[in-house]
C-alpha cells in the first residue's frame, strides 16, 4: 500500500507541475502580445521561445502522466476524463504558441487606435486560460469549486467575444484607412487572440461535466 501512495504522490506532483507550466504559458502569452504591440521585438522573441519550451514540456508531461495512469492502472473510473482534460488543456498551450508564432511570422501592423482593445482582448484570453487551470486544479482536489472557476472562464470568454467584435468593427469602419488585405489580416489576428479563450471555454465545458461525474 505504501508503494501505491508513493506512486500517487509522484503523479500528483507531475500534474501540479504541468498546470503550473500552463499558467506560466498564459502569463507569457499576454506579456508577449503586449511587447509585440509595444514594438519590443527582442523581448517578444524571448517570450515566444519560452512559450515554445513550455509547450514541449507540457506535451511531455501529458504523455508521461498518460503512460503512468495506464501502466499503473490508476483512477480506472476517471482515467478517460482526466486524459481528455489534460489533452484539451494542452491544446490551449499549443494555441498560445501558434498565435505568438503567427505574430512572429507575419508581423501584422496594427493602427494605434486598436492597441488598447487588443491588450484587453489578450488579457481576457489570459484570464480565461488561468481560470481554466484553476478549474482543472479544483477538479483534481476540490471538485465543489470547479463551477466557480468554470463560470469565471465563461465570463472572460464572453468578454473576449465582445472585445473581438468591437475591434473587428473598428477595423472595418468607414473611418479606417486600411487596405482590404490589411483589414482581413488584422481581423484574422484578432480572431487568433480570441481563440485562446474559446479553447479555454471548451476545456471548461468538459471539466464541468467530468466534475459532475466526480461528485459522489
Amino acid at each position: 500500500m505504501g508503494f501505491l501512495f508513493k506512486q500517487s504522490a509522484a503523479i500528483e506532483s507531475e500534474i501540479d507541475t504541468m498546470l503550473d507550466d500552463i499558467t506560466q504559458a498564459a502569463l507569457l502569452f499576454h506579456a508577449g502580445v503586449k511587447e509585440y504591440l509595444a514594438g519590443e521585438s527582442i523581448a517578444f522573441s524571448e517570450r515566444l521561445e519560452r512559450v515554445s519550451t513550455i509547450e514541449s514540456k507540457v506535451d511531455q508531461s501529458r504523455r508521461d502522466i498518460r503512460n503512468k495512469l495506464y501502466r499503473k492502472m490508476l483512477i480506472p473510473e476517471s482515467r478517460g476524463d482526466v486524459l481528455s482534460l489534460l489533452e484539451n488543456i494542452d491544446n490551449v498551450v499549443d494555441r498560445t504558441k501558434e498565435v505568438l508564432t503567427e505574430f512572429d511570422v507575419e508581423h501584422p501592423i496594427f493602427p494605434q487606435n486598436l492597441l488598447s482593445n487588443l491588450i484587453k482582448l489578450s488579457e481576457a484570453s489570459m484570464n480565461a486560460m488561468e481560470n481554466t487551470v484553476l478549474a482543472s486544479r479544483a477538479f483534481f482536489k476540490e471538485v465543489y469549486l470547479v463551477q466557480e472557476f468554470v463560470n469565471k472562464t465563461f465570463f472572460y470568454e464572453h468578454e473576449a467575444d465582445t472585445i473581438e467584435a468591437t475591434i473587428k468593427k473598428e477595423i472595418f469602419s468607414e473611418a479606417s484607412t486600411l487596405e482590404l488585405a490589411e483589414r482581413i489580416q488584422l481581423k484574422r489576428f484578432v480572431e487568433h487572440l480570441a481563440s485562446i479563450s474559446d479553447e479555454a471555454e471548451s476545456v471548461c465545458e468538459r471539466i464541468s461535466v467530468a466534475a459532475i461525474k466526480r461528485t459522489i
Binding site: S8, I75, K141
Partner: protein, 349 residues
C-alpha cells in the same frame, strides 16, 4: 467406508457453500473488481481467507436460530435439505434470477418440516422473516449515513484525485475483508447449519494451541467450500454486478460494502450482541440474512441520498420477486427430494 458416506452426505452442503461463494462474493468485491479498482486475484485471496475466518470464529450465532427453525436429525435428511437449497440457488443463478442462499435454506428446512410432520417453530420463522425485511432497511440506513459522512469528509479534506484513488483502493480491500468475514460468519449457517445436529466431527487441536470444536470443523469445511466457489466461479458474477440496479463509483461501492457487511456482522456476531446488551443498546437476533438483500438495501440508501435519480426500479422489482420465489422453490424442491430419498433410496430423512 463410513467416512466416505459422511462425505457424500456432506457434499450437498459443500455444493451449497460453493454456490454461495460463487454468488455472494460478488456482493463483497463485485463493484471493486467490476470498476477495476481491485484485481480479481487479490479479491479472491482476501475473500477466501476472511470468509473461512468468519465462518470458524463467528459462525455459531446464526446457526442456532436456523437449528431452532427445524432440527434436521438425520444425515440423509440434512443432505437433501442442503441439496435442495443448493440446487435452487444454482438453478436460479443459471436463469439469471436474483437468489438468496439464506432464503433457499429456510425454504428447504420448512419443506423438511412439512414432509416429516415436524412443527415449524413460528417464533423463529417470524424472527427470520422480519429480519429479511429489516436487513435491507437497516443497510439502507447505514449507507445513507455513511454517504453523508463521507461526502462531508471529502469536502473538508480536499484530497487529490490520485491520492483519493489510492485511499479508496485500500478502503475497498479493508471493507472487502470485513465483508468476507461477515459473510462467512453470517452465512455459514446456511451452508453447514443443517448438519450441526448430525455432525460427524470431533474437536481437533492444531500446532500453536489453536483448537477447533466439532462444529467449527464443520464450519471450516464449509468455509473451504465457499472459498472454492469464490476462486472458481465468482469472477463472472463480479464483472456483471457493477451494471446492476445502480451504477456505483468506487467510493459508493465502498459505502455499499461497508454498510451491507456491517448489517451481516450485526446479525452474526455473538460478541457484538453481548456487548450491545451490556451497554444497554438495542441488539439484533442472530439470523442468517441475505448479503444480496443487504447490498440492494445499501444501494437503495445511496440512491435516496442522491435523490433516487438513477435507480432502475424494474431491476429492483425483479430482485424483490426473487426474494419471494426462492424460499417457495426451495421448499417445494426439498419436499419432493425428501420424498424421493425416502421412497426411492430408502433412507430415513
Amino acid at each position: 467406508m463410513e467416512e466416505f458416506i459422511i462425505l457424500v452426505f456432506l457434499s450437498s452442503g459443500l455444493f451449497l457453500g460453493w454456490s454461495l461463494g460463487a454468488n455472494d462474493a460478488a456482493n463483497v468485491f463485485g463493484a471493486a473488481v467490476g470498476t477495476k479498482m481491485i484485481k480479481f486475484r487479490t479479491a479472491a485471496i482476501i475473500g477466501s481467507i476472511f470468509v473461512i475466518l468468519g465462518a470458524v470464529i463467528s459462525g455459531a450465532g446464526a446457526s442456532h436460530t436456523l437449528g431452532k427453525l427445524g432440527a434436521v436429525n438425520t444425515l440423509p435428511g440434512a443432505f437433501t435439505v442442503a441439496l435442495s437449497a443448493g440446487f435452487t440457488v444454482f438453478w436460479m443463478t443459471r436463469l439469471k434470477l436474483p437468489v438468496s442462499t439464506s432464503q433457499a435454506i429456510v425454504g428447504a428446512i420448512i419443506g423438511w418440516n412439512l414432509f416429516t410432520g415436524n412443527q415449524t417453530d413460528m417464533n423463529s420463522l417470524v424472527k427470520i422473516v422480519l429480519t429479511w425485511i429489516i436487513c435491507p432497511l437497516l443497510s439502507a440506513g447505514f449507507s445513507l449515513v455513511f454517504y453523508y459522512i463521507i461526502r462531508f469528509s471529502m469536502k473538508r479534506a480536499s484530497i487529490h484525485m490520485i491520492r483519493q484513488d489510492a485511499i479508496t483502493r485500500s478502503l475497498l480491500i479493508l471493507a472487502g475483508a470485513f465483508g468476507a468475514y461477515s459473510l462467512g460468519a453470517n452465512n455459514i449457517a446456511n451452508v453447514m447449519g443443517v448438519f450441526i445436529p448430525v455432525s460427524p466431527f470431533g474437536g481437533i487441536s492444531f500446532a500453536g494451541g489453536i483448537k477447533l470444536n466439532g462444529v467449527q470443523m464443520l464450519f471450516l469445511l464449509g468455509g473451504l467450500a465457499i472459498s472454492a466457489g469464490i476462486i472458481t466461479y465468482s469472477k463472472r458474477v463480479m464483472l456483471t454486478i457493477s451494471n446492476g440496479i445502480f451504477k456505483l463509483s468506487p467510493i459508493t461501492a465502498f459505502i455499499v460494502v461497508l454498510s451491507s457487511s456491517l448489517v451481516l456482522f450485526l446479525f452474526a456476531s455473538q460478541g457484538l450482541k453481548d456487548w450491545l446488551i451490556t451497554h444497554g443498546l438495542p441488539s439484533l437476533p442472530l439470523v442468517p440474512v441475505s448479503s444480496s438483500q443487504a447490498v440492494v438495501g445499501a444501494v437503495l440508501g445511496i440512491g435516496i441520498a442522491k435523490s433516487a435519480r438513477n435507480i432502475d426500479y424494474r431491476i429492483m422489482g425483479r430482485i424483490s420477486s426473487g426474494w419471494v420465489m426462492t424460499p417457495i422453490a426451495a421448499g417445494l424442491l426439498s419436499f419432493f427430494l425428501l420424498f424421493v430419498m425416502q421412497n426411492l433410496f430408502l433412507q430415513s430423512v
